[in-house]
């Protein structure tokens, strides 16, 4: 079966989370992604976690769960000879991706201006904390630190309490997903016109573009409401409530008065819905602390899954709060095709999360994450035309490493 990006090649200089996530989409859908990395300056994610208690450059469970469907070319970009190899690679590629601190690609001789001379219709995406231009372009940062700049941490938190860091190393993967769209928009334009271009993505700006409610409130009313916890301006109750067991919770989102009545009935406190302090959305919002305490007092009496079943039977919006352990047991997740088992060269058969989407007429091609440099020989020889003797010399000179 054909896949949409067969014949498209990506020279992937990206690392950590955002770019690898983006290229996993494209690699799974047919693109040939060639990850350029090295043992001299390896992706630190290769050392975050291991397999069965043993770390190792090819054993990181985190790395393996993100970097599937690609090749690995081990190239020490700090060596001048590496520049020529990278140039040859870009010449036969359609897309280049990178997320080094601003200035590094230029240092490697791999800035867009230079690569454009080699490959005029190249599409290149750079993802950095604050973008390539502006007074603070050279800042260093990961997504989770950068989002503070963008407003996310200030706005996330328990009501009137401290600003928070967000789970899932937010916003790395969200930005990576947006990158997929931007790269494909540029590829679509190239298909139509033959023109490549440079995409300068600021992680912070992407995050702020996902905070329209607070930003628009500021611009319309010069107001900052700060964090509101799990609450919602248009729904009450809208929160996370304790159930039986240690640190066990359910999320409940009640859209209107009728649903609130159904909730109170299901929880065995129908009279609550009739009380003046709770009978209308406006009154529930005004008395939200009391409301949440009353609901919590009831939810505590239920087992999590019993309560979820009960409220779903009344067509209410409810869900168990999942940590990783429970999440992996969810029957709909196990059933939906997103979790795939791959045989990794060192880690063996392991489950990794594939794309969060199902296509009715194509099936992604998932291949296990590469061991460091596992495709160096093939890429240098077959694709770039280096002889075995040249490759051996490059290895001896620690250019290919």
């Amino acid at each position: 079966m054909s896949l949409p990006f067969e014949g498209i090649r990506i020279a992937d200089f990206g690392w950590i989370f955002a770019i690898p996530h983006a290229t996993a989409w494209l690699g799974s859908l047919g693109a040939e992604v060639i990850r350029v990395e090295s043992t001299v300056a390896p992706d630190l994610v290769r050392f975050l976690s291991g397999t069965d208690g043993t770390p190792g450059i090819n054993r990181s469970g985190i790395f393996n769960s993100i970097n599937f469907s690609r090749k690995s070319l081990a190239l020490n970009l700090m060596r001048p000879e590496a520049r020529e190899i990278a140039h040859r690679l870009v010449k036969v590629s359609d897309i280049a991706t990178e997320n080094y601190t601003v200035g590094n690609m230029k240092k490697f001789g791999l800035s867009y201006e230079e690569l454009c001379k080699i490959k005029p219709d190249l599409i290149m995406l750079s993802g950095t904390p604050l973008g390539q231009t502006g007074p603070y372009a050279k800042t260093v940062g990961f997504g989770p630190t950068t989002q503070a700049f963008a407003g996310m941490c200030h706005l996330t938190g328990y009501p009137n309490d401290f600003p928070c860091g967000i789970g899932g190393t937010w916003p790395d993967f969200a930005v990576g997903t947006a990158m997929v769209f931007f790269i494909l928009a540029a590829l679509h334009h190239r298909d139509a016109t033959g023109e490549g271009q440079y995409l300068d993505l600021s992680m912070a700006e992407t995050v702020t573009a996902m905070l329209p409610e607070a930003m628009m409130d500021y611009f319309l009313n010069w107001r900052d409401n700060g964090p509101i916890g799990n609450r919602d301006p248009a729904m009450a109750p809208h929160g996370v409530f304790p159930v039986k067991g240690d640190d066990q919770w359910v999320a409940i989102a009640i859209a209107d008065d009728e649903e609130f009545g159904a909730l109170c009935e299901a929880l065995g406190v129908p009279a609550l819905a009739k009380e003046a302090r709770f009978s209308r959305l406006a009154s529930r919002s005004a008395n939200v602390d009391d409301l949440e305490n009353e609901i919590a007092a009831r939810t505590r009496e239920f087992e999590r899954d019993d309560l979820v079943r009960l409220l779903r039977s009344r067509d209410l919006a409810v869900g168990p709060v999942y940590g990783p352990m429970d999440l992996m047991e969810d029957p709909a997740l196990r059933d939906c095709g997103m979790l795939v088992e791959l045989e990794h060269p060192e880690s063996g058969k392991r489950i990794v999360p594939g794309l969060p989407v199902t296509f009715s007429a194509m099936q992604p091609d998932y291949q296990p994450a590469p061991a460091m440099g596992q495709d160096s020989e093939q890429v240098l020889g077959k694709l770039l035309g280096y002889s075995s003797a040249e490759i051996a010399r490059l290895r001896d000179a620690k250019v290919v490493i």
Binding site: L44, A148, F182, A361
Partner: protein, 388 residues
């Protein structure tokens, strides 16, 4: 958000709304001076930039006929309805893909149109809390399980993320159509989009021993390790001091204090093991520092550090200003409006604000009349009958 991504990058996006009520985001605000008006809500003005707006009552046969006529020339359908509603209206994805062989029919729901949970009620909070992101928030700041439940990120991140996911996936299907000539169904889910933000935890779950440090971490929300944000003199900053390089930079930014030379902080492992001591010392230093100053000081030493900015600081910072991130336009109903602009700068085909969010039914005449050939009299009759 999915439609906005396409519209802001040049696609013709026709937003189809129910007559009278309009799309729900129109009623959500934020409104200027708290005065609700479906034409001037902040969320509507932002999410619906560059779109054309028509009204169609899909509960009526005539409304559906016009909808099908629009689909005849459409490449992509973005459909956020629950599957049961689509099936009742006869606009489920199977019927649409069969009837319009080139159409890319995108479902955007909480659980997925083909999920075991397809008929289960959801929404942003449920997707976030079932997707693991809520459980892991706040990161390394939970000191009391009872008063600090799992927390969602600000606003509606699961919904916005579902939008970007659907836009990316629709583009993938569009490229496949270039090869095959055929459309297909693209099933997206805000829940699974959140799960895909959680891939490190999934990878640890499938690879790592339960008693290894990362194996332990995915089993509890308790504060294990350093958080990303710390208090300082006049607010908060984000800070990442843990790797060797960043620790050296942190020490330099602090002026190389004696305590930092302790063997407790010598290596990555020892700093991770003694994270409470690292944190306490860092907070002690930060308590005399202003957030914008410490941002500059730490960055000068190449340490990841940023101020925890408020919306005002986000709106007014020099970096966004220099890049022209916020844009302003004159909207006929809302007058001059500022809003976030390009999330990514394209060198050749830049993000453009070609038109503001449409008024309800603003383009009925242009799209339904001029393009589909509905006469002025018919349009009046359709309006009278509640079809548009």
């Amino acid at each position: 958000m999915a439609g906005k991504a396409f519209a802001d990058h040049g696609a013709e996006v026709i937003k189809i709304e129910p007559p009278k009520a309009g799309a729900p985001e129109r009623l959500r605000g934020p409104f200027k001076d708290e005065l609700p008006d479906p034409e001037t809500g902040g969320l509507h003005l932002y999410l619906n930039t560059n779109k054309l707006g028509v009204t169609l009552n899909l509960e009526t046969e005539k409304g559906r006929d016009l909808f099908f006529e629009l689909l005849g020339s459409a490449d992509i359908l973005l459909n956020p309805n629950m599957p049961t509603l689509n099936e009742r209206l006869g606009i489920g994805w199977r019927a649409m893909v069969e009837r319009f062989s080139r159409l890319i029919a995108v479902s955007i729901t909480t659980f997925g149109a083909e999920s075991k949970y397809r008929d289960v009620r959801g929404g942003d909070l449920i997707a976030t809390q079932m997707g693991g992101v809520g459980w892991e928030t706040p990161v390394n700041q939970v000191t009391d399980f009872a008063t600090q439940p799992p927390l969602k990120p600000a606003e509606h991140q699961a919904d916005y993320l579902a939008g970007f996911t659907a836009a990316a996936a629709a583009m993938c299907a569009l490229f496949q159509r270039k090869r095959t000539g055929k459309g297909q169904h693209v099933d997206t889910s805000s829940w699974l989009a959140m799960v895909s933000m959680f891939r490190p935890a999934v990878g640890i779950h499938s690879h790592e021993a339960a008693n290894a440090p990362y194996g332990v971490r995915i089993r509890t929300r308790a504060k294990l390790g350093v958080p990303w944000v710390y208090p300082c003199k006049d607010g908060w900053v984000s800070f990442s001091p843990i790797t060797d390089r960043f620790w050296r930079g942190t020490k330099a930014a602090m002026g190389n204090p004696e305590w930092a030379e302790s063997e407790l902080f010598e290596s990555l492992i020892s700093r991770a093991t003694n994270h409470d001591a690292v944190e306490a010392s860092l907070i002690d230093w930060l308590s005399n520092e202003n957030k914008q100053e410490v941002f500059k000081k730490a960055q000068a030493e190449h340490v990841p550090c940023f101020p925890v900015n408020t919306p005002r600081e986000v709106a007014e910072n020099e970096q966004y200003k220099a890049r022209g991130f916020f844009v302003e336009h004159d909207h006929p109903a809302a007058r001059v409006v500022r809003m976030p602009g390009a999330p990514c700068m394209f060198s050749r085909t830049p993000w453009q604000l070609r038109r503001g969010a449409p008024r309800l039914g603003e383009h009925n005449r242009e799209i339904l009349g001029e393009r589909l050939g509905v006469s002025i009299d018919e349009l009046a009759a359709l309006k009278r009958d509640g079809v548009i």
